[in-house]
Symmetry: C2
């Protein structure tokens, strides 16, 4: 059935070690080389990556664990990871944990058994169980998006992003705010962004902030917004992600509030996918694609040099569009 190195060797009348040498770069005489060449072409021989990896103890595969597939930020990061991985000759095994912690843990072990060379984890939260798994597998492991003590990570400047939005809002003269946040379990999104915002906003003595927790999904965020918007006196609404901000805008439209005339809206993310929406959303743009690139470069260093890099922080920028205006 499948043609193996033995078949080639037999047909060429040489030892399989010679064929192996031919395949790699060892010394083979021009004559044998040519002979093997022909046979390999004729039979369409492709070495079995599995058998090869077994001996090499290296698969050239990088495992990526993502929390969900239907998120624009995840997709942009993934695109970045993918394009750089391809450049460098790594194959990606992407596993979707579907926002379930158990599956994340399970996936860490599965990827380890699969003998990936390293794992990149787009994290929501790092619990003690995560730490145990990461420790257990003894593999290069890189966390994206959440700062984690003792584990290499690449994070966004979420705190700074919060401050930027606050500053912008204050400059526009707003005094009362409605902040849709997410669970504090997600430190980056649920705490850092919020804290940055609050620390900056309270510099202005008379600012009032109402905050309410919702979820990452548009559906739930929309529902929360439908409940909260009617009673609010806030003139400026912040969504902890662009997706949430979008859900707020949808709700506003259904409630006959126009954005930004009646109410300003801002978010965090700056996804390409949403950049064509009307009206265009004021947001803090994160370098999602770039974080992917950096992730591959970093994990590669960990794999080949065994380096344990410091945690890296990426900056972001405020992008003022059409959903915010003077109060």
């Amino acid at each position: 059935m499948m043609v193996t190195i033995n078949d080639i060797a037999k047909e060429a009348g040489v030892a399989k070690s010679t064929v192996s040498r031919y395949l790699n770069n060892g010394s083979v005489s021009p004559r044998t080389k040519q002979k093997i060449d022909e046979i390999v072409k004729k039979r369409g021989y492709k070495p079995n990556t599995f058998a090869r990896s077994l001996k090499a103890q290296k698969t050239n595969m990088i495992g990526v664990i993502i929390p969900r597939l239907d998120s624009p930020s995840t997709n942009e990061v993934l695109s970045g990871i993918d394009s750089r991985a391809h450049e460098k000759g790594y194959q990606l095994i992407i596993t979707n944990a579907n926002q379930e912690k158990e599956r994340e843990i399970e996936d860490i072990y599965t990827l380890a058994k699969q003998k990936v060379d390293g794992i990149i984890f787009l994290a929501k939260e790092i619990t003690a169980e995560h730490r145990k798994a990461i420790w257990d597998i003894e593999l290069p492991f890189l966390v994206l998006g959440q700062h984690t003590k003792d584990i290499p990570s690449i994070v966004h400047d979420d705190y700074g992003a919060g401050k930027k939005i606050a500053r912008h809002a204050l400059e526009l003269g707003h005094k009362e705010f409605l902040y849709f946040t997410v669970s504090k379990e997600d430190e980056a999104v649920g705490q850092d962004r919020y804290n940055g915002f609050m620390d900056e906003i309270t510099k202005e003595g008379d600012a009032v902030v109402h905050s309410i927790e919702t979820s990452f999904t548009m559906r739930e965020a929309h529902q929360t917004a439908m409940e909260e918007l009617p009673g609010t006196k806030a003139s400026f609404v912040i969504g902890a992600t662009d997706t949430i901000a979008l859900a707020v805008m949808k709700a506003a439209s259904e409630l006959d509030l126009s954005v930004p005339e009646d109410i300003s809206v801002a978010g965090y993310g700056g996804y390409d996918l949403f950049s064509f929406m009307t009206p265009a959303l004021t947001t803090v743009k994160y370098p999602y694609f770039g974080i992917g690139d950096m992730a591959i470069d970093t994990i590669e260093k960990m794999i080949v040099k065994g380096e344990v890099p410091e945690s890296q922080i990426l900056s972001n920028e405020l992008v003022i569009k059409e959903t915010t205006k003077k109060n």
Copy 2:
């Protein structure tokens, strides 16, 4: 370093074949079983999936080739594939061909060398080179989204979708149309949808359709729309995908055309992600998630039973929202 079956066997004082039998389900006496049990737990032994697959000639991995990561439809399909694959104990290797034909071909071979059990291909186009690769690798291969002679596929009823939009537009009394299509190379999106639309629309003798080709990306579609919309007399615009329709809406807004008052807009897709946009887009909703489920079920049959299934067609439904109104 990594603990192997030999280490366990030695420590337990048994042959490695016994440990192997213990791991699988062979007959092992209660006493040995318990002894091995302890040691496995203590040492945190995890069998090497690679070595296992080498003998078993089966990896429990399914390769998925996608054209791009930043597309809502791709992501919904992928979510469906992923959730079903997980249920059935398959691991996914997802490779992103980044819309390049060469990478698609390359990925087919790479996945084959990786010894995946089967490949699911989210296709844009199937060329002769694709066919050769698919033929070469001799693996269960399933095409999604494009009908292909002699290769098992699951496709959408794109022709029917086109007809549905046409019928809806006619019922609203529209006479003049602007259709943003894509390259004919993509048969499903570029031809079938369009043909369905045309066949239905021309039943009304006096309908006029202007069609123009653009690309799948929002950016390019937006630019095309900015060029085409100003001069048009059409009262109804169709985008070959929801993404294109969205770009059209963006352009309309920038040109001070209001939707649907000045112009109606419709698309194809019905992505969850866009369902919260304002105004909500009239579209044909495709069962993207379901196609993923079906894909795994089908490829599994191909893998375990060696069946070669017939091409399957999925139906879709018109969802009338806010972007279309009477003329």
